[in-house]
Symmetry: C2
Subunit: 507 residues, 2 copies
């Protein structure tokens, strides 16, 4: 039976619009072949030409903002304000990655001139990065735009010079198709090969895509189970390909006794806000709050969480998994519900929750150390610094870890911070993990199971490097070298020459 | 039955010295646990302190040069001259990677100051690389020193700040133990944790090592079958880890008609020398020579190859595989022996060989496109540029590809060079692929099956980056930041600050 997708309104649970046929195996193969055919042309563009193409895509997305936001809201229930912000972030990613690639930072040009009198003599060697080829992007549902088919992975792959075949998330099939149409029109208007970007839909299409020999790398944002299955497919191919999966994260927050004393009530309010943002469906949701014994914030915490508005979750499966996982956490012998979450008879809506336990409950026992995707968090009460020293190294790898402290001399913070850095991709002081700035220094990644490869980020300009590989040219006459490797630096690139970085400023 | 290893003299095939017991599963686990315990101390060292430690290791290897070279020669038959050169390269790798790490290039510091008035506002974000943790290094047999237990992978991992558990190659068990002892003494003298470097031996120990939860990355140089098996183990662990395998490569060489006319006889001599270097047991051996139809060099080629001295191969298994693979190539319906190789009744010695076929034989048929490890190469005769355009894209991924041309305006070279760059990690003009300079611009890697991940090099300072991962610090007070991220740059590191590379020169 052919697979069919449906748009569903999370606020009612009702399907709407026309059913959407899943992409056939033949059409997936055609999309991958078209991407392969488009690859040399995209790779041959100068960085500035590719940047122009990306800016054209960003402009087209911006031009269709109203339609995109309305449809994404209808399929996700995330609300217009949030989705307008997300569209701005999405177009901003295209613009920022384009500008970064334009500086030559992605090419990472290294030139070592010949040293004929060295022992042993060294030939002239010049290296630059080239695109890997067609990239499969698996869209996430929790950020239909910023991590969707036109999200950070797609922007990064295009900035690297790789065509993209993007697999729509089943919860937002119509939004994905609209984004695909808008981008296809922009490519066409710009005179670009249509194989540069295609959207495919359906579970089987996702599997067909990762197995397609024309696909040379893949990026994914989603669950540990889904990500692991695709990572195993990528590693098991006759020709293995790099797979960049961003999976689950607990995002622990350690509050020191001094911070409780200084601003306990404010912290409780901020925590509840961060934890329930987007119905708790952020990769960076603070899911684990460490409070010192005797913190006296139990009532305030429960009240702050209960006061949060009810929001629909993205789909029925996520809602059901949320309820089940919250119940499982609270069923631990040392845990209890401080606030019991519940489903609401209103589409996929749920109420937020809190589970409490002593920190000792995770010492040698990982039953409580699983992400509960949705607006429920675990509050762990720790006895002292020695207990933190014992339990923090037992946390699974995570995207982020946060310390709330009073002063930089705070002794608990001084112990906790290096232990958290050891297990995380990003450490935050006196802030909250939700909200991921798209900058050069950003790292949105972390040790397994936060990602399938801790070396890489999916957000920030560093994300582009996932999709390139080096090629070195030895003793090659200048007229046969890529322009980027010419001695006189005609493209004005940032380069390392004979071991020294040349001081070329960014535009 | 307990696994036992034996030193074998390749020039006679006779075992010598005491049998060496394989490392027990318990001892492998102890080595990995000791590496894990040593990791924080190694990671906490300043780059300059780690560089000093690496220089001490290099000095110790140099001090024991006579013993190391004698034992490596007895176990490999590669000859004293070659092995003295290889030891110099090995110590050079330690010194060069140490010096590179000392500049801060490996830390890759990126600082984005806060932009509170941006939309959305951006927090202060600072990123640096930290070591991944204990690395398993699988030694190769064809370079007992430069790619052995103290080879480029070990030097790169230590420069990154990762302890190493190195698995000896079965063909050089005593050399590996000697290298391990020399390094252990150097570490001890320097006051370093002995867990920083350990050698293990045996097939099962290699498997136990890749499965050990304390191991956080692995590097391998060897066969496609062995590398793929370990890559699958690494990807299939409960916690997958990065695996860097450098496997097989054909290293094609395209000679243009103009180059034949200009210096055909010299090229034939140079090719025969490169192809038979180290008994053809280089990863970069030119295994595929494209000559234009009517080249007239058949006799010169056969003569040059026959004139090469007989050398022992590394072990009996490699010798047998060599003979079998050469015979398989020559049995192809379109191929024939131009020079038939043979085993010599003298240890593991073999004679070199040549197989000839028309280039059309590889069009749509990959039977001839398998590496023959040893001193036999395939000569393919091509009709014209159109034929090269058709067959070169069908080559498997390789470490290198070479073009021999007369002038940079050579039309055949202009066609071939970009096609070869597409399938290779390093392109060479008018040189030979054997000989891999250890420099910044070097790339010793390439598309599958040359490596398991085309993004990485195992030689050159770029090799260090395989063993680190980024951590970002958000809004963190300076006193809680690693020294490398302080605003005033106390370590004098190369950094990207607010998007611009700071012009700090290398020492």
């Amino acid at each position: 039976m052919a697979e069919t997708l449906h748009s569903v309104d999370p606020t009612t649970g009702a399907a709407f619009g026309d059913p959407i046929a899943a992409t056939t195996p033949e059409a997936v193969a055609r999309a991958a072949a078209a991407a392969r055919a488009a690859a040399p042309g995209l790779a041959a563009m100068r960085p500035s030409e590719r940047a122009d193409l990306m800016r054209a895509v960003a402009a087209a997305l911006h031009d269709h903002e109203d339609d995109i936001v309305a449809l994404a809201d209808a399929e996700s229930g995330l609300g217009e304000t949030r989705l307008r912000g997300e569209l701005a972030r999405t177009t901003g990613q295209f613009e920022q990655y384009a500008a970064h690639a334009e500086t030559g930072a992605v090419l990472d040009v290294v030139i070592d001139h010949a040293a004929p009198r060295a022992t042993p003599p060294r030939p002239d060697l010049r290296r630059l990065n080239i695109p890997l080829g067609p990239v499969a992007v698996y869209a996430a549902s929790n950020f239909p735009l910023a991590f969707g088919v036109a999200g950070t992975d797609t922007a990064a792959a295009l900035a690297a010079g790789c065509p993209v075949v993007a697999k729509a998330h089943a919860s937002q099939p119509a939004t994905a198709i609209l984004l695909g149409t808008v981008i296809a029109e922009a490519l066409d208007k710009h005179g670009a090969d249509p194989g540069v970007f295609t959207v495919v839909s359906g579970f089987q299409a996702g599997l067909d895509l990762i197995r397609d020999p024309n696909i040379k790398a893949a990026a994914f944002t989603g669950s540990i189970a889904g990500g692991r299955a695709l990572a195993d497919e990528a590693a098991g191919r006759p020709e293995p390909i790099p797979f960049y999966g961003e999976l689950g994260s607990l995002n622990p927050v350690v509050v020191t006794p001094e911070a409780v004393a200084q601003r306990g009530t404010a912290l409780v309010e901020e925590f509840a806000a961060s934890m329930t943002l987007g119905a708790g469906q952020f990769c960076t949701k603070p899911g684990l709050l460490f409070l010192p014994e005797g913190h006296g914030l139990d009532d305030a915490l429960a009240e702050a969480v209960r006061a949060k508005e009810v929001h629909p979750m993205l789909n029925g499966r996520i809602r059901d998994a949320y309820a089940a996982e919250a119940a499982r956490l609270a069923s631990h012998p040392q845990a209890r519900f401080a606030v019991e979450p519940s489903a609401v008879d209103d589409g996929f809506a749920v109420t937020p929750g809190l589970v409490s336990a002593p920190a000792a409950a995770i010492d040698g026992d990982d039953a409580l150390l699983h992400e509960c995707f949705g607006p429920t968090a675990l509050v762990l009460t720790y006895a002292d610094t020695a207990e933190l020293q014992r339990v923090l190294p037992q946390l699974p790898g995570g995207l982020t870890a946060t310390v709330q402290l009073a002063t930089s001399a705070d002794p608990v913070a001084q112990t906790a911070l290096p232990l958290l850095a050891e297990r995380s991709g990003r450490v935050i002081v006196n802030g909250w993990p939700t909200g991921v700035a798209v900058t050069h220094a950003q790292h949105h990644g972390g040790p397994w199971p936060a990602t399938t490869n801790a070396r890489h980020t999916s957000v920030g300009t560093g994300a582009i490097a996932r999709f390139v590989r080096p090629v070195a040219y030895q003793s090659t006459p200048e007229s046969l070298l890529p322009e980027a490797l010419h001695d006189d630096n005609p493209l004005g690139l940032q380069r390392r020459v004979d071991g020294r970085m040349e001081p070329v400023a960014e535009a």
